[in-house]
């Protein structure tokens, strides 16, 4: 009997030794878990545009983004026109991060010689831990001015005649390191339209996705669906597909799209071109980020 209890005691001592010598690392991790802060999801997309439309990404505080966009003619214009490359429509734009969540941008496009500007604010951020917010949501408020001289020189347009406004809610979620998805309900208001039957107010829903092929290359796709109305009858829904190639401070986006315009009012509500008819255009965006403000090291 005594032998039995002696061996039990020895067994308990061995167990107690193992319990108290539990891994220092486990102890450290448990202690840190007590005071864990939320981790915000980063890099849902590689840059502030999925292809034509905005993504929830915006330049962080102090970063200046320079965006050059080209859209060419359609591939079905044949070899003589070098499959559309002879006909080019561009936009030059800048965006600046006032804070990590709030950025402003402006640009000028060839399409109708339009100047555009926008404010972008990240309302909700996807996070693991903390509140566990499952998606990132941003708001884009944009306005653009068409500065084309009127064809009929007797007609005059006021400044507000030439303006359109776009409001978009961007809702995106990163599903793991490779896949991200975004829904973009959009509202476009055009102050002056050509015909009485044309819509001043147009609603659309955009959807965009990106799939990371490697650390620096991703496959992107984007579609904007016009809700039923005169514009939906007259125009086509914008569909684009392309690659993002990121090289340090640059992101090169190479894609095929049926939209010629690079501004929201243009590619969402005024796209003329059907993929199945070959009205497909090659286009590219180049983004370059300049860090203007060195964050101080504590």
């Amino acid at each position: 009997m005594r032998k039995y209890y002696a061996s039990l005691l020895i067994l308990l001592l061995i167990i107690s030794y193992n319990v108290s010598a539990q891994s220092l690392e486990d102890m450290l991790n448990r202690k840190l878990e007590e005071s864990s802060e939320p981790e915000y999801t980063i890099a849902t997309f590689k840059t502030g545009r999925i292809i034509n439309g905005h993504s929830i990404e915006n330049p962080e505080q102090g970063d200046l983004l320079f965006l050059v966009s080209h859209r060419f003619g359609t591939l079905n214009t044949g070899f003589y026109n070098f499959f559309g490359l002879d006909n080019s429509s561009t936009r030059l734009g800048l965006a600046y991060g006032i804070s990590d969540r709030f950025s402003v941008g402006f640009g000028r496009a060839t399409y109708q010689k339009t100047w555009d500007g926008y404010l972008k604010y990240k309302i909700l951020r996807q996070q693991s831990g903390g509140s566990g917010m499952p998606f990132t949501m941003s708001l884009v408020l944009a306005a653009d001015i068409n500065t084309l001289k009127p064809v009929d020189l007797e007609e005059t347009y006021t400044l507000t005649n030439r303006m359109s406004y776009v409001s978009q809610l961007l809702i995106a979620r990163k599903f793991g390191p490779k896949l991200s998805f975004q829904i973009t309900p959009s509202y476009i208001h055009r102050n002056l339209v050509e015909r009485r039957i044309d819509q001043n107010n147009i609603f659309a829903i955009g959807a965009g996705a990106r799939f990371k092929i490697s650390n620096r290359v991703s496959l992107n796709a984007e579609y904007y669906y016009l809700l039923p109305g005169q514009s939906a009858n007259d125009y086509d829904n914008s569909f684009s597909i392309g690659f993002d190639i990121e090289t340090g401070g640059h992101v090169f986006q190479l894609h095929l799209t049926n939209s010629q315009s690079i501004i929201e009012r243009g590619f969402i509500t005024e796209t003329s071109g059907r993929w199945l008819d070959g009205d497909i255009r090659f286009g590219f965006n180049i983004t370059r980020v300049f860090g203007l403000q060195r964050k101080s090291i504590k």
Partner: protein, 185 residues
């Protein structure tokens, strides 16, 4: 008799647990700084979230730092790339160093000691044996540590694409400093 023995055994277990806690020192606000000195670019970043436990009885330690806590860099985008493309912080959120101090130090006697910490450094999910020289200052109720060491990126399978080879150093200089206090159980 059986009751006395098992009671004694239970007491031993409980007491060994308590005794353990008095010998642990802890920090959760240690400073880590690293720099990359390459021909075309100099990059520097730091974190104040180095956490660790030191057992002054058996000289073992465990340290961890969350990679997303590093700030500095030459632009916010560079910091995003650091986490997304190089460290892959979603897969490997922390860098850790676990091991033992080689020299037998008596932490009861205050003074300055130069020691070598030997252990496994884990960065980007890859373990590497490392001996890190540190300067420890022991005072009653506080242990201060300072150290500098180098981390070659390929030892931890962190790839530098050829396009940025002139902008990122192959060996990163790291320096740390922190103060530890007895850990509250």
């Amino acid at each position: 008799m059986a009751m006395k023995v098992s009671l004694f055994a239970v007491l031993m277990v409980i007491m060994s647990g308590y005794k353990q806690q008095e010998n642990l020192f802890f920090t959760d606000s240690g400073h880590v700084e690293f720099s990359s000195d390459a021909p075309l670019e100099y990059i520097q970043a730091s974190s104040n979230e180095l956490a660790g436990i030191l057992n002054i009885n058996d000289l073992s330690f465990s340290f961890t730092v969350p990679m997303v806590s590093f700030q500095g860099f030459n632009s916010a985008l560079q910091r995003t790339h650091f986490n997304e493309n190089y460290i892959e912080s979603e897969k490997f959120p922390n860098s850790t160093f676990n091991g033992k101090i080689i020299e037998e130090i008596d932490f009861a006697s205050p003074g300055t000691y130069h020691i070598r910490a030997k252990g496994l450094l884990n960065v980007h999910g890859v373990d590497n044996d490392k001996i890190i020289r540190c300067t420890i200052q022991v005072e009653t109720g506080r242990i201060s540590v300072e150290s500098s060491f180098k981390v070659p990126l390929d030892e931890h399978k962190i790839k530098i694409p050829s396009i940025v080879q002139q902008k990122i150093a192959e060996v990163i200089d790291v320096s740390i400093r922190f103060e530890m206090e007895p850990m509250n159980p």
